[in-house]
């Protein structure tokens, strides 16, 4: 199996609420809206899509029950500390919960994190050491 994530599917409680958060709040653009699922235009990296949480669980053959930390974090690496601050402010204004305000990290980077309306966690970061991948923005 190749190390390739085609898409990241997030099970959401309220599709319209989540669409508003990501489009009106964060400025993402819908690429395909199948009503039971929505995919966003990707600016690089894996596609992101939504399904209803129960439907997604059924689709992969598991129970929808679950709570607490998912164990998964999505990162978004930007080109400056100022951009970290801007993205976190934009997310908070859109209704996200700031979990960790932006701060300099022990290893020298700068970043902070937020949870979206369903609790999915994004870590927004900047690293002065350069990365092996392009910056998200």
């Amino acid at each position: 199996m190749k190390a390739h994530v085609s898409s990241i599917l997030l099970g959401v409680e309220d599709m319209e609420r989540s669409k508003r958060f990501y489009t009106e709040g964060l400025g993402w653009k819908v690429e395909r809206d199948y009503r039971i699922s929505v995919f966003f235009k990707s600016d690089g990296g894996s596609l992101v899509g939504f399904y209803g949480r129960d439907g997604l669980a059924a689709d992969v053959g598991t129970s929808p029950e679950g709570s607490g930390f998912t164990g998964m974090v999505l990162t978004h690496v930007v080109r400056s500390e100022a951009r970290v601050d801007e993205v976190l402010a934009e997310a908070e204004k859109a209704g996200a919960t700031i979990l960790k305000p932006a701060a300099t990290q022990p290893w020298g980077g700068y970043g902070g994190s937020f949870a979206d309306l369903d609790g999915y966690i994004w870590n927004i970061g900047y690293s002065p050491r350069g990365k092996n991948q392009p910056y998200a923005e």
Copy 2:
């Protein structure tokens, strides 16, 4: 904020066990091993990395407690039904739990799903309708 996932971080219980599953079991290659985190060479899409589960939770400012369905699914879209079967067999041999054996889906595609050693879910699929993105393999 751009619609770009730089990397997907998975909190794992046992770093060495998870590394063996993804490298020896699935054939992935380690790109950077920082001991507290491991990143794999990406064949396209977002990078995938591991952290210890507790450390990852602390890093993003949340409690590590959590159980059940994470609400998130990683997909891997391949070019044939036969390849779906092969990837699922490879994952099962490596110790994954098959959640849904490969079968034709109501919408015409073909796929199945597995959970890795920490319960993270992969959906392996083939779609005859073509995709807006390259196949993973």
